[in-house]
Symmetry: C2
Subunit: 432 residues, 2 copies
């Protein structure tokens, strides 16, 4: 085990609890300073971090190569290796991402809804940071910079724990972050990247109620489930993205074709891709033959209900009950013919993951019903589910997409990393 | 043990798990209906409940008398007996409370921030209920009607668990709630009041992740701590109300006197009462003698730091370290002289409970600093902490005051019982 606190490598392998507790105390202290840091200083730090990354890109790539070699020796699969790799293009994207975050408005201190009350006091809300954010993610070193930057801009101290395969890459990036913070006059402990591959660090982190205000896991379902079940701290989480497109009786079938094809085939491994296509019975005959051909042409494997399969029994496999609840993240699609709106809404609310669901219809009342009644973080009319994304929604950047109900639903941007406190202005007012 | 499901008393004492699971399923089903119920039907139900309570007030009082007799036999103390009692005046207040909630705007379905994005889609937010809310409270039967009404109006199904001493009162009130729901054509399971005094019901409730979306404990600190530590469901909680008033160097001392006196003496047993008075050293000599006399005149026991005690060593006791962290909820006040703003902010953020804190000052820069840097759910300038209240803030009603950071801070009204989902309007838009 490698434990480093303030750049000192500890020789004692048993002090992981002390190490984590120290990170927590340092984060809490840094959060108090960051909460009152003005936007200029935070932006300055972000730009200085970008410069440091640019200057030290050879070092970062060399450290990343160490991780890559170890990962290859350990037999990591190709997809994971790809995520671990830091190419020049990815480093450029990290730098560009930092500059974009600089250009976003600072959410902290925003005052809204200031109104005079009958008593004479003026009551409003002020946006404030959450405090200390813990982020747990997989072996994707670009997440380190992304998460650090979003937390910093929103005035939160962060404790970051990346996957063990990326430890050298993450520490190289962290050196750049520390350099940028220092040059901007901010405590280096505003961001802390856990420097040990000891797995118990995660368990400790999930229960540091005194020093961490919220945990955000970023990664696959098993990571998120572990974090949710073990954490005693509030978690902002994103479970499945089991998205539906429902082609309504009143759909314009040309729009329906384009939207469904885009929702399934734009990218397969993303959470906002369609996994189940629902088609109203009355339009199935006119809609499905072309749609099926279009999807097959793109190489999508189809699985359907019995009434769907009759359109092409050779090309459409049998959808089992499990298919309606599976996030394929692959060129596979389940298709179901439904009676109409009611059955579609019921199917979506019961089998879906409350992520993103769309209706295609020209019918005003049914569009309204769908918007109101589908219980998902994003509900769309005549648009592709692939738009469900922080950048597309104008948040500028996102730390993830929340499928929770409390605090934040849908893409979580800078504002999602803040809270609002009440402020009251008086002039000597007392309550009678 | 008394277990009733759908008015059938079960003879089997061992089926509490089944009973709770059934309440959960029923609540989930009712929540789906309530989420799409229009404002008229919800208001109609609230008015019908008010009528039923008015008509059945003798029955309610008779059931309450049973609880009172049992409580007296069990030696409940006077304060608890007072909270348990349902007088005509309290029943009138319950009815008036229902009418006030009817008059509030319906939060559900509110669409805001609809903006066109460069891609051509229009993105906004729609306010939606949280789903099923579990409320755990003490033996105060008026909370039953208050909690049921706020959840109903905000489109949430509720499962209510009151203190065991109030079981007969609560069930009498619940009969009125069911009657009102029925007359308005809503499922009676929109509100469910747990009809058993088996304590294991609470433990079960705190872990019904499938059927309860959020738990709100209302009551003393021990209840809230138990709920927070045992719940696997998100909790909106209110721990202490350890409120401070800081009299700054730049204070108008006449306003300071009025605000401090009001903050401490308006009511003692409430969470927004001042518990610690902080006074800047430079004004202590001019301010404290009158303030001390005023407080003593009101019968307030004073405990002070050494420098404070010199103003009246006979009347001011010694404040121990513990005093700075104690919510007295009584006519007791701790007083500390501080160097100035910096020390005041540090004291408040470290010893306070992040509830409500006020500065009295005419100094623009220090007022701004205090507002920004005090990490409490309500931060005030030149106003009494006693204004920290849902009615005073214009929320119309409150289910409690949150000292949490996520989701809701400060008084939680109807909007605090809702969430926002994203909605997207397109016209066949696909993402390139």
């Amino acid at each position: 085990m490698r434990v480093a606190v303030n750049n000192e490598i500890s020789s004692d392998g048993g002090d992981i609890e002390q190490y984590m507790a120290q990170l927590g105390r340092q984060a809490r202290a840094a959060a108090e300073i960051l909460a009152q840091t003005d936007p200029e200083a935070k932006n300055d730090a972000l730009l200085k971090i970008a410069e440091a990354i640019n200057q030290q890109r050879e070092l970062i790539k060399a450290e990343n190569q160490k991780d890559m070699r170890d990962a290859e020796l350990n037999g990591l699969d190709a997809a994971l290796l790809d995520r671990l790799l830091l190419s020049d293009a990815r480093i450029d994207a990290m730098i560009e991402g930092l500059r974009q975050i600089v250009s976003l408005p600072d959410p902290v201190g925003e005052i809204s809804e200031l109104e005079y009350r009958p008593s004479g006091i003026q009551v409003g809300k002020m946006r404030v940071p959450l405090g200390v954010i813990g982020i747990i993610y997989e072996s994707r070193p670009n997440v380190t910079i992304d998460a650090a930057a979003l937390c910093l801009k929103s005035g939160n101290a962060s404790i970051l724990r990346g996957g063990k395969e990326a430890i050298n890459s993450n520490q190289a990036i962290y050196q750049c972050i520390k350099q940028g913070l220092k040059l901007a006059g901010l405590p280096q402990t505003c961001v802390q990247v856990i420097n040990t591959i000891d797995r118990s660090a995660v368990g400790l982190m999930l229960n540091m109620q005194e020093s961490i205000d919220v945990i955000i896991p970023r990664g696959g379902k098993s990571l998120i489930e572990r974090v949710s079940s073990e954490a005693s701290i509030p978690v902002i989480k994103h479970l499945d993205g089991l998205c539906h497109v429902y082609i309504d009786d009143g759909a314009n079938l040309s729009k329906a074709f384009d939207i469904a094809l885009n929702a399934k085939t734009r990218r397969y491994g993303v959470c906002n891709a369609m996994e189940t296509l629902l088609v109203a019975e009355s339009v199935a005959k006119d809609f499905l033959p072309d749609m099926i051909s279009g999807l097959i042409e793109k190489g999508v494997e189809l699985r359907g209900s019995a009434s769907t399969r009759q359109y092409n029994p050779d090309a459409i496999g049998v959808a089992s009950d499990e298919d309606w609840e599976t996030e394929y993240l692959a060129p596979i699609l389940s298709i179901k013919i439904v009676d109409g709106l009611e059955q579609a809404i019921t199917h979506i609310n019961h089998h879906g993951s409350h992520h993103t669901d769309a209706i295609v219809t020209e019918d005003y009342s049914r569009a309204r019903q769908f918007l109101r009644r589908v219980d998902s973080s994003s509900v769309m009319v005549n648009a592709s589910t692939t738009f469900s994304d922080g950048f597309e929604y104008g948040l500028g950047a996102e730390i993830g997409i929340s499928t929770d109900k409390l605090h934040a639903r849908g893409p979580v941007g800078l504002k999602g990393l803040t809270s609002q406190k009440y402020i009251v202005y008086g002039d000597g007012h007392i309550r009678h």
